[in-house]
């Protein structure tokens, strides 16, 4: 982040975030809210209409690579609202799609239909990328922010960018509590 932009961020940011509109949740909070947390690799996508033909859902099959909380079958399915089907494109602002081969740490809750949903939409979806230094890092697109309150006090919010190793340690510690 450039110095100039950092200064702007300090002045104007608050801890309320829009991304569709979310309040940033810590790894520990996401862990507590989720029944399952796993490193997973996307296999394929399939979009379908709901029974009323009003909502498009996309079912993404994942291969569980390493469980961090709970237990899942090797192949499991995550359902998200939105997708492309029959010439229509339904989207939830700020929510990303998965492409086959994407690696991500997923914070999950069971849905009523036997599939899973991602806790907090994009917040529970930490994409895994390899940094230029060769370190596997994760982020969920919900960035760190600093709040300047009315008294002039600066408060840091812990951002989501971290190493995969740190994320895993924090998840396992939170899950054990």
């Amino acid at each position: 982040m450039s110095t100039r932009r950092f200064i702007l961020a300090v002045v104007f940011l608050s801890v309320t975030a829009f991304a569709t509109t979310v309040v940033p949740a810590s790894v520990e909070r996401l862990t507590a809210q989720s029944t399952h947390v796993t490193l997973a690799r996307a296999i394929d996508n399939r979009s379908l209409w709901d029974a009323s033909h009003g909502r498009i859902y996309t079912l993404t099959r994942f291969q569980a690579v390493r469980m961090m909380k709970g237990s899942l079958p090797t192949i499991f399915t995550v359902k998200r609202l939105g997708g492309h089907l029959d010439g229509y494109n339904m989207k939830v602002a700020g929510v990303r799609e998965w492409q086959p081969g994407d690696n991500t740490v997923l914070f999950l809750q069971p849905d009523v239909d036997g599939n899973f949903i991602v806790t907090g939409l994009m917040q529970g979806d930490f994409r895994v990328v390899r940094s230029s230094a060769g370190v596997l890092t994760v982020n969920n697109g919900v960035r760190g922010a600093r709040q300047l309150d009315a008294s002039g006090q600066l408060t840091d919010f812990q951002g989501s960018r971290m190493s995969l190793n740190e994320l895993e340690q924090r998840v396992r510690k939170a899950a054990a509590q």
Binding site: L8, A25, R55, I56, N89, M90
Partner: protein, 336 residues
């Protein structure tokens, strides 16, 4: 003024400002709308076709005890729509249709505003998701619009629904306390999505992904976005365009650089009701960019990687709409 800020490895960028002139015609991809990838593979800016069918919204008026502060949530949503429709240089109108009992977003011809929305999957099972906007666009012309007509083009918005999380404590007043969220602030942002705008990387914009607790007025960046999607025939304020190409040293085009124009004066060409901010855009796959909707003023132009606090993740459809996996961030920030 010319400054350069580089970090680490070779990160040289050549940014050429090709033109700054008033009255230039609109480019294909102004500002930061959401995008739909058409069946022919091109990226089309999401927008309502205002000639296709009447643009309305319907409110499900059911409310819970989680709304406090003395204001009327329905009037607040109406005021938030007015914030956008009354923006300078903007010609978009929306009216309130009869109320509805629908309580779930769907592509059904009803643009729903819902305060008691119970679909777990919409909010990801938490109260940390305050609200969501779900839009449906067509991938091509001729799709059923649910209004008895066919869609006119790829990217045409056919339906948009805003769901407010019923588990959130909403403030309908002027301020927030404790764990409250400010309804009008959130509504203003969501309505930007309703009209087709994606997140902006300009810090002071309503469409910036992170916002103050209370912020209900548009910024210059928001005005540029909405007025370019829905331009007024006779603009209130003359604006122009800054165009150029972002390349790495050696000439390789940079895709997805955030390029913004920042005024260096204290002029207020949009008046005092619009918060002065930079006006930004993203570079296309060939490195070209157009910063449109720029009022007459003196500017610095900056190209920067989208690497925090806003990232590729916050602009969910931009890279994929151009058939790319992500935007480029392998360069440093440069000012011109």
């Amino acid at each position: 003024m010319k400054r350069a800020a580089t970090h680490g490895r070779l990160i040289s960028i050549a940014l050429s400002i090709c033109a700054i002139a008033l009255g230039l015609s609109l480019p294909a991809f102004p500002y930061l709308p959401m995008y739909t990838r058409s069946t022919s593979g091109s990226a089309q800016a999401d927008h309502w076709d205002l000639n296709a069918f009447p643009l309305t919204y319907s409110v499900n008026p059911s409310l819970g005890s989680n709304f406090t502060g003395g204001g009327d949530p329905i009037q607040i949503v109406g005021a938030s729509f007015n914030t956008w429709t009354s923006a300078p240089n903007t010609a978009v109108a929306i009216s309130r249709a009869p109320d509805t009992t629908v309580h779930s977003a769907a592509f059904d011809g009803v643009n729903l505003i819902c305060f008691i929305c119970q679909d777990k999957s919409s909010f990801g099972g938490t109260t940390d998701t305050l609200a969501v906007t779900i839009t449906t666009t067509s991938d091509a012309a001729g799709q059923d619009t649910k209004h008895g007509t066919g869609s006119t083009a790829a990217g045409q918005i056919l339906d948009a629904d805003i769901e407010f999380n019923p588990g959130v404590q909403w403030s309908t007043g002027l301020t927030v306390t404790g764990n409250q969220q400010h309804l009008q602030t959130v509504a203003a942002h969501e309505i930007g999505h309703f009209f087709g705008l994606d997140h902006s990387a300009v810090v002071r914009a309503v469409m910036f992904p992170f916002a103050p607790d209370v912020s209900t007025t548009l910024s210059y960046d928001d005005v540029a976005g909405i007025s370019l999607l829905y331009p007024k025939g006779m603009p209130d304020v003359a604006t122009g365009s800054i165009a150029g190409t972002v390349t790495l040293q050696g000439g390789a085009a940079v895709f997805g650089a955030h390029v913004f124009a920042d005024s260096i004066s204290t002029n207020l060409p949009f008046g005092s009701n619009i918060r002065k901010s930079a006006i930004g855009t993203m570079s296309r796959p060939d490195g070209t960019y157009n910063i449109d909707g720029v009022p007459a003023d003196s500017y610095t132009v900056t190209a920067e990687p989208l690497d925090d606090p806003v990232t590729d993740s916050d602009i969910s459809g931009y890279a994929s709409a151009f058939g790319k996996g992500s935007v480029q961030i392998n360069f440093g920030t440069h000012w011109h």
